[in-house]
Amino acid sequence: MSRVGLRAVALAYLAVLLLVPVGVVFYKTFEHGLGAVFDSVTTPAAIHAFWLTIEVAVIAVPLNAAFGVITALALVRGRWRGKSLVNAIIDLPFAISPVVIGLALILVYGRNGWLGSWLSDHGIQIIFAVPGMVLATIFVSLPFVVREVAPVLREIGDEQEQAAATLGASSWQTFWRVTLPSIRWGIAYGVVLSTARAIGEFGAVSIVSGKVAGQTETLTLLVEKRYGNFDVAGAYAASALLALIALATLLAMTVINPRKEPA
């Protein structure tokens, strides 16, 4: 198999599987002109969906980032039993189907769920409301920051932190001035992945949200609804918006990737 032959096969496969579909979506979206697209993404439902998606991500991602950094530190620098168990649990969101995640949340926080009566007694609504969607999003985007920060921490080693200690720095100072700067690109990369996952979440959020237009409908749910209502152009328009966000994510990943490897 010649070099050029292999290259051709690989590129053809990628083109057919990746590029052409995405290209077609953009083409079909703008087929009817820029104006139609603009109208489509500025309907009240679309605007609300956009901001809701952002809102959910803005809550979920920082929480996961904080959890991620703390857990990565505990896993790499700490000594305690049960590390492999925790490691395995962190990988669970990768292995569980989104619909199962949605189901799980309903079973705990829903009307007939384990916490159901306690929640309704206190007037807190989780399922079929934004908090439920936030929980679902946290679940699915949980592992990313940990999985990016832990290897970086391992690579760097703790010599710098030891040096800081000998120079008189407290744990907090060491963390803030030495550890955090050295892992900042790992965190950034993990945040980008986490955000992309959060924005793109569909299955779990689909079950948990109740899909009330203008209230609990994210961009991904909007795409599905429009398609179901035969508003294909509208579905394409929202998809194109999400695809643009995805490409921006890829760009961010490409830029950050080389920097997260310690020199």
Binding site: A10, P21, V100, L103, L251
Partner: protein, 234 residues
């Protein structure tokens, strides 16, 4: 402290699923023709996709590491597109491209799963290929082995663990995949209904024990595969 957070978010809800699955007739539900058909389709499609990925993913990784051509950096970045793109959008794009010919068929499911699991083997193999000691291949050449033989006897054995783990991760992802498949498969029971869509339907029809039962089987399959990867990784 982290463990409390983990439990709240992850463990307790999953435990609830397991618990609920026993609420109804577990084996009857899981053994029902429709459920079995859905599970069968899901697992077979995922295995097929994993096999295709093992081959094509390795090929793509090889070209990205060993070859050079203008735009290679862009191609490399695009491999992560399935990770970055929402699954529902992936479904729409596949519909847009393949249209009515392929929609509502099993081919559509396979195509959707191939899209979503593309990066796994590629990203798993790339670092191993990069680290591979090129001198081993030169030594084999100096001893008379031709390029195909070198690939078979030297490169492949060293890549095998990475290929296996990438394929297994892709499999675990594929069995649970929902967003890209739900539109494209048409949800025809016994023909194109995958397990995740089946579960979704049960939830919508308020049959949570039924949904939980099949969910437990699905989880068991994923977790089994992941456990095997971890073992291999030693």
């Amino acid at each position: 402290m982290a463990t409390i957070w983990l439990s709240l978010i992850v463990l307790i809800p999953l435990a609830a699923v397991v618990a609920k699955s026993t609420d109804g007739p577990f084996w009857e539900t899981v053994g029902s023709r429709q459920a079995v058909s859905a599970l069968e389709l899901t697992v077979l499609a995922s295995i097929g996709v994993a096999a295709i990925n093992a081959v094509m993913g390795t090929l793509v990784a090889w070209v990205l590491v060993r070859d050079s051509f203008p735009g290679k950096g862009v191609v490399n970045a695009l491999i992560d597109l399935p990770f970055a793109l929402p699954t529902i959008v992936a479904g729409i794009t596949l519909l847009a491209l393949w249209g009515q010919h392929v929609a509502y068929t099993r081919t559509a499911i396979v195509l959707a799963l191939l899209f979503v699991t593309l990066p796994f083997v590629v990203r798993s193999v790339q670092p191993v290929l990069l680290e591979l000691d090129a001198e081993m291949e030169e030594a084999a050449a100096s001893l008379g082995a031709r390029p195909l033989t070198i690939f078979r006897l030297i490169v492949l054995p060293n890549l095998a663990p990475a290929i296996a783990s990438g394929a297994a991760l892709g499999f675990a992802r594929a069995v649970g995949e929902f967003g890209s498949v739900v539109l494209v498969s048409g949800n025809i029971p016994f023909k194109t209904q995958v397990a995740s869509v089946f579960i979704f339907n049960q939830v919508e029809s308020d049959n949570t024990p039924g949904a939980a039962a099949v969910a437990v089987v699905l989880m068991a399959i994923s977790l089994l595969v992941l456990l095997i990867i971890r073992r291999l990784g030693r």
